[in-house]
């Protein structure tokens, strides 16, 4: 009886106890292990956030004023088209230009050759200027006016200067040069195209 009944029962019991014990303890250890790693990651993240505070403080101190200035200029946030127009009108009057036509196109995304790997995208508004000049020096002055008073960052992408008459009129009564220029006014937006608001 001992050999035929007790031993198999003991064997099965041992197997059952062993497997249960092993499985339970393994599960417990595994659970603790995973929980430990999760907590450890959170701890490291908290430590890194704390250690980054000084660096963030430096970044704010160093860059925030300039970024605010960019925001004021409309490079970040809403572009200042009205200011551009007013600047052009003032420049036209100041230079005594007989013809100064402008056309500002819809904003589009700018694709520079070197892509920026960031959370932001660059957009541009094309501005076409048609104006008659006495001489090319007035074009210089016009751009100087824009540089000085129009808020934003722009670049001249193309210009065409054509002589209006064969002989140059030196009497400053009639314009000599017809100029057609295209400017790109840049602005920076969020990745989703939303405006960056710093107010």
């Amino acid at each position: 009886m001992y050999a035929s009944c007790t031993a198999p029962l003991l064997y099965m019991l041992g197997l059952l106890i062993g497997v249960t014990c092993a499985w339970t303890s393994w599960r417990y250890k595994q659970m603790m292990y995973l929980q430990y790693h999760t907590t450890e990651k959170r701890f490291h993240a908290a430590a890194e956030r704390y250690l980054a505070v000084n660096e963030e403080e430096r970044l704010v101190r160093e860059y925030y004023p300039y970024v605010l200035e960019l925001h004021e200029q409309g490079v970040i946030g809403q572009e200042r088209r009205l200011d551009w127009i007013e600047t052009l009108q003032r420049a036209g009057k100041h230079l005594g230009l007989s013809v100064l036509n402008y056309r500002i196109g819809a904003q589009e995304e700018y694709m520079p050759a070197a892509q920026y790997q960031s959370n932001y995208r660059i957009y541009y508004s094309p501005m076409r200027l048609d104006l008659d000049l006495l001489h090319e020096g007035e074009l210089y002055e016009l751009f100087a006016e824009l540089d000085g008073h129009a808020p934003g960052i722009y670049t001249v992408s193309s210009c065409r200067l054509s002589r209006l008459r064969r002989e140059i009129n030196l009497a400053a009564i009639q314009d000599n040069i017809r100029t057609e220029c295209e400017l790109l006014w840049f602005s920076i937006k969020k990745q989703d195209g939303g405006t960056i608001d710093l107010t």
Binding site: G14, I17, G18, A22, Q35, T39, F43, M111, S157, L184
Partner: protein, 535 residues
């Protein structure tokens, strides 16, 4: 009958039943001490007592040692085969020699040196199974595990290494308390035959005389069976108590063919590990001790008779396995639990550290202004705007360069200047005109061999030479000088003449009139300059 209730029921305990013709001696757990046996007669009463004994004692592992006259030895040869063929031959020999007994054993003792080199086989059998079967039946009825059955001559073979004398021919003479005088002949330490003679307890002198007589009978028998080799000495080992040995030594006559060796069974027992010295002249306790302490093969018991023993072994094995498994898994579980607890401790430590750093973080961040943009993004925005500033371009530099050169060539008049900037810029523009212009600038720069990775500006000048009177050579020289003057300017990278008033190249057809009409000699030139980036 004896009271056996005090016997221990240890699982490691063994029991040896020593069966002779008329008695059964039970030796129980000597534990390296000589013990006295319980004796049962081979009568019905003795069997009833033995049955009661078995019922009242724990079913410990039991070995049956048989020392009876009805054991036969037959030596024969069979062809040297193995496996089923060998088994078939042995079965046939068994049918031939010992038809009526289940207690049969074969031992292959070597091979012949001549002829086919057949196997030499010793066939042994207990020819009267009725002597053994009732006892075995009682054991089986009481579920006593029977580990095996062997005979005393087979067991005597285990002592040969400890006995002196030539191993080529050896006759072992021993005395057993319940069976008598046993003479076993070995050749090259292999059992050949054995003979049992009843030797009732008697006075020593009579015993000595009987022993001498029976040894002589045995020697005559061996001679008659041609078992003895006259060219080799025969070692006769007397295995008994010291007094008997002393008397035997005195009574022995010298014979050059025989070497007599007298071994005190008590001394031999001590040599083999038995603590107590055997005080009797009998070998029973020594042989039983060997059975109890060594792993011995079964010679005669059938599989059915060994059933309980095999079950016991299997049960013990399973018990050990279960115990081992429980211990191992408990240990492993404990190891896992300790590891888990260690992790648990680390979790609480890490959580405390996390909480501490979060607190520090909150305190430190109070100093920072509340921003809509992450501090790292401030730098990114700043860098992007710097990059845009650097990419700013304008036509004024190009116009200044052209003006300077123009001052040196008053006859040259420009009708139109088409300027574009930034060869690397690609604008995703729906305005195909602008896009085409910019891509055209890029390709032009690339054609002129300038590194397109830098920023360049390009201007196409459309002009004419004033007051042209038909002197093409002079005009062409002037335009060439104008182009060269542009090219010699420091900022200019490349100048290409696109159109001339008169193309004198071999690839074009040319026609005209000797009568020249005054007018303008028109030309166009493309100028490429590096774009000076504002910093």
């Amino acid at each position: 009958m004896i009271s056996l209730r005090t016997l221990k029921s240890e699982t490691g305990c063994r029991r040896v039943l020593f069966l002779s013709m008329d008695r059964l001696a039970v030796y129980h757990c000597p534990e390296q001490k000589s013990v006295w046996p319980f004796l049962f007669d081979t009568t019905e009463a003795g069997m009833r007592h033995f049955d009661r004994y078995l019922r009242e004692t724990p079913p410990v592992t039991t070995f049956l040692l048989v020392d009876v006259v009805q054991e036969e030895y037959r030596q024969d040869v069979i062809p040297h085969v193995s496996g089923p063929d060998q088994r078939a031959l042995i079965t046939r020999k068994r049918q031939q020699f010992f038809r009526d007994t289940p207690y049969f054993h074969t031992e292959i003792q070597g091979r012949e040196e001549k002829n086919r080199r057949d196997d030499i086989v010793l066939f042994t059998a207990l020819t009267n199974p009725i002597l053994v079967q009732p006892w075995v039946k009682l054991l089986m009825e009481n579920r006593v595990p029977l580990a095996g059955i062997c005979s005393l001559p087979q067991l005597t073979g285990l002592l040969l290494d400890h006995l002196p004398g030539n191993p080529q021919q050896k006759l072992v003479v021993s005395l057993q308390s319940i069976s008598g005088l046993r003479q076993t002949f070995f050749r090259n330490n292999k059992l050949q035959m054995s003979r049992l003679v009843d030797l009732p307890l008697c006075r020593t002198a009579y015993c000595i005389e009987r022993i001498n007589e029976e040894v002589k009978v045995m020697l005559r028998y061996l001679n008659s069976m041609h078992q003895l080799d006259d060219n080799k000495p025969l070692a006769i080992c007397y295995l008994t108590g010291a007094p008997v040995l002393h008397d035997l030594q005195i009574s022995m006559s010298d014979n050059p063919g025989f070497h007599h060796h007298f071994i005190d069974v008590g001394d031999l027992a001590v040599l083999l590990g038995l603590y107590d010295k055997i005080a009797t002249p009998f070998c029973d306790q020594l042989l039983v001790y060997l059975l109890l302490t060594r792993k011995l093969p079964n010679y005669y018991a059938s599989r059915e008779e060994l059933r309980d023993y095999r079950r016991r072994k299997a049960g013990l094995l399973m018990h050990s396995a279960a115990t081992g498994m429980i211990c191992t898994t408990l240990l492993w579980g404990a190891f896992n639990y300790i590891n888990g607890s260690a992790y648990s401790y680390r979790i609480s430590a890490a959580a405390q550290k996390e909480e501490y750093f979060e607190l520090l973080n909150r305190i430190a961040r109070k100093k920072l202004p509340a921003l809509q943009v992450a501090p790292l993004d401030l730098k990114v925005l700043s860098d992007i705007s710097h990059e845009l500033q650097q990419q700013r371009a304008g036509p004024l530099e190009m116009l200044q360069v052209i003006s300077k050169v123009m001052n040196r060539f008053p006859m040259v008049q420009l009708e139109q200047i088409s300027w574009s900037a930034n060869a690397t810029m690609v604008v995703n523009d729906t305005d195909t005109d602008t896009g085409a212009r910019q891509s055209g600038a890029t390709s032009a720069v690339t054609r002129s061999g300038i590194n397109s990775a830098q920023h360049y500006q390009e201007a196409t000048l459309y002009g004419s030479v004033h007051e042209f009177e038909g002197d093409y050579r002079k005009v062409l020289d002037m335009i060439g000088s104008f182009s060269e003057a542009l090219e010699n300017t420091e900022q200019v990278h490349d100048v290409t003449i696109l159109d001339l008033p008169l193309d004198v190249g071999p690839a074009t057809s040319l026609e005209g009139s000797s009568v020249t009409v005054p007018g303008d000699a028109r030309f166009s030139i493309r100028v490429v300059m590096e774009l000076h980036i504002e910093t």
